[in-house]
């Protein structure tokens, strides 16, 4: 079980930042439905903080994390964000997972001129001056995946997603892309978050006979979907599915044998072959247990703490404006490879990788861009994406 550590490192709260520490906020769902994903992300951030502190901290000061529980509830996220910024006066916040929670805290960060580091891939169409996005923008995950599928797997797409903003927006992008690139949409289905019976959906997939199921389901639903897909006698050999919200952590819950052979698209896998990653995986397992796995959001959460620390060091201050300025163009040798902060939109340059799930639950990279891709949250560089954003 994870998460015992931070209780010892959660300091007494309330007072002003003491002279020899720098307070940072950590804001994730530690209870409620999103806790299944966010707790590990929090763990990764805590690990990074401990490492940095062990190496002497930043600006000669130790980082002091203030943890808050967003409880899978968006107004609670907003409340806790306010608390971190106004009460604790934290230098920065690492937090959120769902786009909804990010949208909820966004005005709080803008009003209070705070800084949020957001570690999860998302639907794009956003670029707040108060947020750094360390997960993938659509052009670093979805767009290349669709392109690869069209080239390698077939033209008929079945879009399956959870009913909320990320899948809906992602599918809007995919549909535009399919149209531009000669793909065909056979069906688009949404299920409520937390939906657990996919027999009907599987039946619909069967009768629609797509070449590809592009899966933007989130959370628990993936477990039900893949288990039930397999029970219906459909294997990865019969039908390709590509998921963008299923990483190693989720695969543990699904059961490797149920999803073996299916595809995913991310920027990082536990198997990613870099020296930095080898070290990262080792440290993570040493700290949280050999049975734990690392994955893309965990890695993004981990590196964003380092990116902030580097920026602070470079700026020589925790002042938001100075940190933002210093962060522009900042490069970091991350487990996923060399990443760089794009000053224009505060997203990361990231490599894109398509992988296949193995029988041991890990993911084997089968295709990659090799080098980091420039983030393009509004898809401005794609002609077919013209109508998608109103910016």
């Amino acid at each position: 079980a994870g998460g015992e550590q931070q209780s010892s490192s959660t300091p007494a709260q309330g007072g002003a930042a003491s002279a020899d520490t720098i307070k940072v906020g950590i804001l994730h769902s530690l209870s409620g439905t999103m806790a299944i994903s966010e707790v590990s992300v929090k763990d990764a951030e805590m690990m990074a903080i401990e490492e940095i502190n062990a190496a002497g901290g930043v600006l000669g000061k130790k980082i002091e994390p203030v943890i808050e529980d967003g409880a899978s509830d968006w107004p609670t996220f907003a409340e806790k964000a306010k608390k971190l910024l106004q009460n604790d006066k934290v230098a920065t916040v690492f937090g959120c997972w769902t786009s909804a929670s990010r949208k909820a805290v966004l005005p709080v960060f803008e009003e209070n001129n705070g800084l949020l580091w957001y570690p999860v891939q998302y639907e794009g169409m956003e670029s707040s001056p108060n947020i750094f996005y360390s997960g993938a923008a659509p052009n670093q995950q979805i767009v290349p995946a669709v392109e690869w599928l069209l080239q390698n797997k077939g033209k008929k797409f079945f879009l399956l997603g959870s009913d909320y903003v990320f899948p809906r927006t992602a599918n809007k992008i995919i549909k535009a892309q399919l149209e531009a690139m000669g793909g065909e949409l056979v069906a688009e289905e949404y299920t409520p978050l937390g939906h657990t019976d996919y027999s009907t959906i599987v039946n619909k997939i069967k009768s629609a006979k797509p070449d590809v199921v592009f899966n933007t389901l989130n959370g628990d639903s993936n477990v039900a979907f893949f288990k039930q897909l397999k029970d219906a006698g459909i294997t990865a050999g019969d039908l390709t599915t590509l998921s963008v919200s299923v990483a190693e952590e989720e695969i543990r819950g699904i059961g490797a044998d149920n999803i073996q052979g299916h595809l995913v698209s991310w920027n990082y896998y536990q198997t990613t072959d870099t020296p930095e990653n080898k070290e990262f995986v080792e440290k993570y397992k040493a700290k949280y247990g050999a049975d734990r796995v690392t994955d893309d959001p965990i890695e993004a959460a981990y590196i964003q703490v380092y990116l902030w620390a580097e920026a602070v060091k470079k700026a020589g201050s925790t002042d938001i404006e100075k940190v933002k300025e210093a962060a522009k163009g900042l490069e970091f040798k991350a487990p996923e490879g060399l990443v760089k902060i794009e000053g224009e939109n505060q997203h990361l340059w990231k490599p894109v990788r398509i992988g296949e799930v193995q029988s041991d639950g890990l993911i084997k990279e089968i295709w990659s861009t090799g080098e980091a891709v420039r983030p393009d949250p509004y898809l401005k560089t794609y002609d077919w994406a013209k109508g998608l954003s109103n910016e």
């Binding site: 299920t191 009907t200 039946n203 219906a232 006698g233 699904i254 490797a256």
Partner: protein, 302 residues
């Protein structure tokens, strides 16, 4: 054609899952009048119990014996969850008889605690229960019509549980005692029935049934701390639609909601399907305010 046949099968399958999930509630809520908001967490307990039992068998993974863990897991989940229910009864529930609305609040607290407990013990992420090999695959009727063994097994298990509970409640002296205690505790006492014991046993029984449901659910979905939350409204709906206090009603309620859900989901989409089914249930209740199987009473109140 096959699509439609399969869809009918799906309807029955979903009904059987609902039935299994609601059966325990039919006892604790229908019979005992405890609005048990922790029912979902008892289901979760059953799922984690299955996970634990599987863990014990883990060294045998790969051998044929491993698959047998599931046969043990069903009674195991029943007993473990019944034990949790028993503890709950003697610590909390026993103080709430005759205060159904208060029971809602206390069990809500219980559900918060149980969820957090699961998170502390098993970690926040989902865990995986590997289904036994003998339940993999399906009964192939025609090329496009394959009925998964897991779903067939759940239908069988649900039927077995229903029959068992029906027999126990309506055909045995224990069942008679249970029903008597639930209807009039002080009179039952006055007739020499140890109502404290009956209460505990009944609640444990209802909890144990939730555990069996949890065990079955490991075959189909995720096992995490919030596993049960998704079932709470559906199961209450099943019991209420069928008529609280009636086991046959629970079957009917589960059947109509399950089949309705899959049918409307097939015709529209999952969200709309749910909305339509719930709307239909609401409208149905206007017509039959006490559900399918009404228990009439001459008494002035209730």
């Amino acid at each position: 054609m096959e699509t439609y046949l399969l869809q009918i099968f799906n309807g029955i399958s979903v009904s059987s899952i609902l039935m299994l999930a609601a059966l325990g509630l039919a006892v604790t809520f229908g019979l005992m009048k405890i609005i048990n908001m922790a029912h979902g967490e008892l289901i979760m307990t059953g799922a984690y119990a299955t996970y634990i039992i599987q863990g014990v068998f883990k060294p045998l993974d790969g051998s044929a014996v491993f698959g047998l863990y599931f046969i043990l897991a069903i009674p195991g989940a029943f007993l473990i969850t019944a034990a949790v229910g028993y503890l709950l009864e003697i610590s909390v529930i026993k103080r709430l008889y005759g205060r159904p609305l208060d029971s809602l609040l206390a069990t809500w607290g219980v559900s918060l605690v149980l969820q957090q407990l699961a998170r502390s013990i098993f970690g926040a992420p989902n865990v995986d229960v590997k289904s036994p090999a003998w339940l993999n695959g399906g009964l192939v009727l025609t090329e496009g019509l394959q009925l998964p063994y897991k779903r067939l097994f759940i239908i069988f298990l649900a039927a077995l549980c229903i029959l068992g509970v029906y027999w126990f409640l309506y055909r045995t002296a224990w069942g008679r005692r249970i029903r008597a205690v639930m209807q009039n505790r002080s009179m039952a006492q006055s007739l020499g029935i140890n109502t404290r014991m009956i209460d505990s046993i009944t609640f444990a029984l209802g909890s144990g049934l939730a555990g069996v449901a949890g065990c079955a659910l490991t075959l189909l979905g995720s096992i995490g701390p919030t596993l049960g939350t998704g079932y709470i409204v559906d199961t209450f709906m099943v019991v209420v639609l069928g008529g609280a206090g009636s086991i046959i009603g629970t079957v009917a309620g589960a059947g109509s909601i399950g089949i309705g859900n899959t049918a409307f989901e097939f015709l529209t989409n999952a969200s709309l399907g749910k909305v339509i089914v719930f709307l239909v249930v609401i409208m149905f209740l206007q017509w039959k305010p006490q559900g399918f199987f009404t228990i009439s009473s001459r008494a002035l109140d209730e």
